[in-house]
């Protein structure tokens, strides 16, 4: 059975390069091409390819954010393609993850592809590796600027600055944006780590607020606070979280 491959790169010429080289390889079928991270997430979920050629630097959602959006546990075998990214390369080495450095020739491409074929057959090992890779590259990456959310049957690319507040819901978080909200499969802790710490503060075990949307802090019972958002939402902030926000006064 053919390996079903997806090509993700923002440069048309780089996609063409992969397509040309793959045409000469046997047992591989290209099921799609994506020019940005958002459509890559959709394609991975919709087409469930066996192998993804994933460019690391891309507009809007980069390669790592694609994995975050899809979920490390749902990622197929991935061959990273990058021109240069010192932090990423180091992480790839540490986690023995295959990557291709641009520019590459037929020989290097072929070798990398052979290794990737092995991973396609061992897909159950992928989630743990992806999760540890993400954990590793996190510190060196800037905060999330955009996040991919599902709304009914389509996807939206949300600017993180538009999020007013975030609420925990079991294994999900609910992002509240201008009168509507979106569920994202993510934990509160992990979400907080990926957001701009100057803008987003955790005020409760189960809520994070965007400081730009906070209108008023009102003392409440027992030293707790009531946090009033500009859209009228009222949240409570236990005194144990007071340090998060008290310096703003």
């Amino acid at each position: 059975m053919n390996i079903r491959a997806l090509i993700v790169d923002d440069e048309p010429l780089a996609r063409q390069r992969l397509r040309d080289l793959l045409a000469d390889e046997s047992g591989i079928e290209v099921v799609g091409e994506c020019g940005d991270g958002g459509s890559a997430v959709v394609a991975i979920e919709a087409q469930a390819p066996d192998l993804v050629f994933l460019d690391v630097q891309m507009p809007e959602l980069d390669g790592f954010e694609v994995i975050e959006s899809v979920g490390a546990d749902r990622m197929p075998a991935t061959l990273f393609v990058t021109a240069h990214d010192r932090h990423a390369l180091k992480a790839f080495e540490v986690h023995a993850i295959d990557y291709l450095l641009k520019p590459f020739d037929r020989k290097r491409f072929h070798e990398a592809l052979e290794r990737a074929r092995i991973w396609v057959g061992r897909s159950h090992e992928i989630p743990a590796r992806m999760a540890s890779l993400l954990q590793d590259v996190q510190d060196s990456r800037p905060p999330l600027e955009r996040i991919l959310v599902r709304s009914g049957d389509h996807h939206l690319l949300l600017k993180t600055t538009d999020i007013q507040w975030i609420e925990a819901e079991d294994n999900y978080v609910r992002l509240h944006v201008e009168g509507t909200s979106y569920l994202v499969r993510q934990t509160m802790g992990r979400m907080l780590e990926r957001l701009d710490p100057a803008r987003f503060k955790r005020i409760h075990r189960s809520s994070i607020v965007n400081l730009d949307c906070v209108k008023e802090l009102r003392p409440w019972f027992h030293g707790d606070y009531l946090v009033l958002l500009s859209d009228g939402t009222k949240l409570t902030m236990p005194r144990t979280y007071r340090e998060q926000i008290v310096h703003l006064k």
Binding site: E11, P12, L13, A14, D36, P59, K102, D105, P142, R146
Partner: protein
């Protein structure tokens, strides 16, 4: 692409290392106001003591009353001190060197003659008062003053001029020091800009992606591969060759940016649109070397790279009276600037300020949903010969 036409940069126009706009009066400040007045008061006191001692030595046998002499000389020196002030102000505003010095001398000479004559008249009036003589007729008054004037004019004129020239020399000293400082600051900023420009081409991400694109094109579109290799060569050569110049012509700057933009254009095919709107005569206008480069890089990064559907980067120039206005605009909706990009913009502003003082303006506006507009105005000066890049 209706991009710029590229021409090799063989002859490099060399502008003066520091433009003449620097010679303005704002540079030659003599310390602070406070320091000036302290020096002035000290000079006054020295003058009083000096002239009193002269009188004392001149009239030893008559044993004049020393308090009387001191009071008389205080008044005299005060009159001179007041008269020297307008001359000092003149020198401060219009130093006797630099462009237009003939006109300045022409105004300075009569001013000085008038002040000295006026001062001697003051001394004359004081001497009359001190002698306690009764008033006399107009003709007699004039004749006496004429004698007084011929007696004292040469001495006072020389003294007066010495004070003025001492002040002028001090102005020079300070201006020289300020300019040396300014020149070294400018050098640092230019060096930073060069570094940044070099980094743009040698940015590993840019370089490797370009090479990768070339590898792809070689199999399918040899013509484009050819163009890309050539432009990459141009870019590296231009940034290596262009060392040490504070200013270059707009045509040269565009040749450099054009090579960069053309590579990006081939890489991203139809997604990148480039609009260069520069009237032909303005390609001779001078601007600080590499000043547009960080702005174009920002426009690409924010207006374009972050948008998968592509965008337009526009570079515009126009003359507004005696000023040159330059704009770099994109139509994207990128994220806010990161810290190091803000630093790049600030360095643009710093260089403009150092080179042109208050004559240059810089602004950077993010128009929500409509991209970014970076614009600057600077004094419009043309290179004396047509620059090569403007072909």
């Amino acid at each position: 692409m209706k991009g710029p036409v590229f021409a090799p940069l063989e002859r490099v126009f060399t502008p003066p290392s520091i433009p003449e706009t620097l010679a303005g009066p704002s540079i030659g400040r003599v310390g602070t106001k406070r320091r000036f007045w302290w020096t002035f008061a000290l000079a006054w006191a020295v003058g009083v003591v000096y002239f009193t001692s002269q009188d004392f030595a001149y009239l030893p046998l008559q044993r004049p009353h020393w308090r009387h002499l001191l009071a008389l000389n205080s008044i005299q020196v005060t009159v001179w001190a007041v008269l020297v002030l307008p001359a000092l102000a003149f020198l401060r505003r219009w130093p006797l060197d630099g462009p237009g010095r003939l006109k300045r001398w022409a105004a300075f000479a009569p001013l000085t003659l008038f002040l000295v004559t006026f001062g001697i008249w003051g001394a004359f009036v004081i001497s009359l008062g001190s002698e306690g003589k009764p008033p006399f007729s107009g003709a007699d008054y004039l004749a006496r003053f004429g004698r007084f004037l011929t007696l004292y004019f040469h001495f006072y004129f020389l003294t007066f001029l010495s004070v003025l020239f001492a002040y002028h020399a001090n102005l020079w000293r300070h201006r020289f020091r300020d300019r040396a400082l300014l020149a070294s600051q400018l050098e640092t900023k230019l060096f930073q800009a060069q570094n940044q420009a070099l980094r743009m081409q040698l940015q590993p991400h840019f370089l490797f992606n370009t090479l990768h694109s070339i590898a792809t094109l070689m199999h399918t579109d040899v013509e484009s591969a050819d163009r890309m290799v050539t432009r990459l060569g141009d870019l590296l050569r231009l940034s290596l060759e262009r060392s040490g110049e504070q200013e270059i012509s707009l045509g040269q700057e565009l040749a450099f940016l054009g090579a960069y933009l053309e590579i990006e254009h081939i890489r991203f095919k139809d997604r990148l649109r480039i609009a260069i709107e520069v009237p032909e005569p303005l390609k001779n206008a001078l601007l600080p070397t590499f000043i547009l480069q960080p702005l174009v890089e920002n426009a690409l990064k924010h207006g374009f790279s972050k948008r998968s559907q592509g965008g337009t980067v526009a570079i515009r120039a126009r003359a507004e009276g005696n000023s040159l206005r330059l704009e770099v605009e994109d139509d994207g909706d990128g994220p806010p600037l990161r810290h190091e990009e803000g630093v790049g913009l600030r360095s643009v502003q710093d260089r403009l300020h150092l080179l042109y003082g208050g004559l240059a303006r810089f602004s950077f506006d993010r128009l929500p949903g409509r991209g970014t507009l970076a614009s600057m105005t600077l004094p419009l000066r043309l290179a004396h010969q047509p620059a090569d890049g403007s072909a």
